[in-house]
Symmetry: C2
Subunit: 214 residues, 2 copies
DNA sequence: TATTAAAGTGGACTTAAGTCCGCTTGTTGT
DNA sequence: ACAACAAGCGGACTTAAGTCCACTTTAATA
């Protein structure tokens, strides 16, 4: 019997990962997680991970093009969880009639705590792609849905009359999220001694300034 | 005759650079500038620079610990010029009684154009120190006087009653400058297609929101 | 089950950053 | 002028990222 190909999808229909490969991926992730936890992500070499996992470097790099991608994969579950939790909460808040700007406040506050908890891995993730071509820099993937979310809330707030209607929401979302980049965040926490509350309040103060009737 | 040592400064009194060393420093800078201009800073290897300058790698690294430091040295003059021009202008504006917030507006606008003009080198400069210890990351040197300036203007605006007196000016300066980091800036320009005017306006809109009587 | 092509694998190899150290040269004090 | 020593120098060496490719394994099909 010939292999089934959906009639409405004659595209490559890429086969899913072979199961030995999937096993190795999982093994690599576990190993990396352990090593990162033991020595700190910055002190772990790709070769260490390969050796500890008992695989060759070729295998490691076939799955993860670099440490940033590996770190991102390690955070994947937690990012999804956070994302889902936020979307769920926002849906509920909207149903209860909470103002969009208040939702944005809470979103940003939650994000501050998220960035704090995952700061070491986020630093690794964001260390990539600062010199390369533009399209694939770190401003694409990890921040993408956050950006979407902030823009969405700002636009809704604008539509609801909570904000003046001439705001450049895309730019503002960029600026707000830039203030939460892992390396700056770390500097603020460790170098400047800022508390999470201070960062959250400072960021939300910027949003508050955008409101109508100022 | 014994070497003069100021009586009020018995510290090491480090000798100034030897003149052959100074000549090499200049040679390296010229060479690097040429190569950067020819191929783009990202495509120039440290070894290339050493070879083109006709010096060993040891010599190169003795002067500049890495490409970021070298790039920073290349920008040094222009940064000083910009800084002096800004300080001069601000002094004049203050003498004329211009509001501090308007001065801040103009400063940020000028900074947008500065970051645009020097974006390639700034990307190299900022590519360093994102994983290392906190104290010496790029949030220290290149941004330091900019941060000082913004904090100063904000504080003066606050003292003059142009801003409410409960603002976290240090945090706000961090956030505003974060929005001008070279890699984000480049993404906004090339990836998002933002104009300089749009970036400047967006940034200044955030400042405007902080004003009194909103 | 046998065939076979694509996917997966390991580790040698390449590239580039950055360090080290024995030799050279400029500077200072006599 | 010259001795002595610190600063400067070059390039071999080390470290780590990332690529390549000949060989092996899986799984779809006949």
């Amino acid at each position: 019997m010939s292999r089934m190909i959906p009639l409405d999808n004659l595209e490559p229909t890429e086969r899913s990962e072979r199961k030995d490969a999937a096993a190795n991926r999982a093994l690599i992730l576990e190993t990396a997680e352990t090593l990162f936890a033991e020595r700190g992500a910055a002190n772990v070499k790709m070769a260490d991970i390969a050796q500890a996992a008992g695989v060759g470097k070729g295998t490691l790099y076939r799955r993860f093009a670099n440490k940033a991608e590996l770190a991102l994969a390690l955070m994947d579950t937690q990012m999804r969880d956070f994302q889902e939790a936020m979307l769920g909460r926002m849906r509920q808040q909207s149903a209860q009639g909470m103002l969009k700007l208040d939702q944005l406040d809470q979103f940003l506050d939650a994000l501050v705590y998220f960035v704090d908890r995952h700061n070491p891995l986020l630093c690794v993730v964001q260390a990539e792609g600062l010199l390369d071509g533009v399209g694939e820099s770190d401003y694409q993937r990890p921040h993408f849905w956050q950006h979407m979310t902030v823009v969405g809330l700002l636009n809704e707030a604008m539509a609801a009359g909570e904000l003046p209607d001439d705001l450049d929401t895309i730019y503002i979302a960029d600026a707000l999220l830039a203030a939460l980049h892992a390396s700056l965040f770390r500097f603020q926490r460790e170098g400047r001694g800022f508390s999470l509350e201070r960062i959250s309040a400072g960021l939300r103060r910027l949003v508050r300034g955008l409101r109508c009737g100022e």
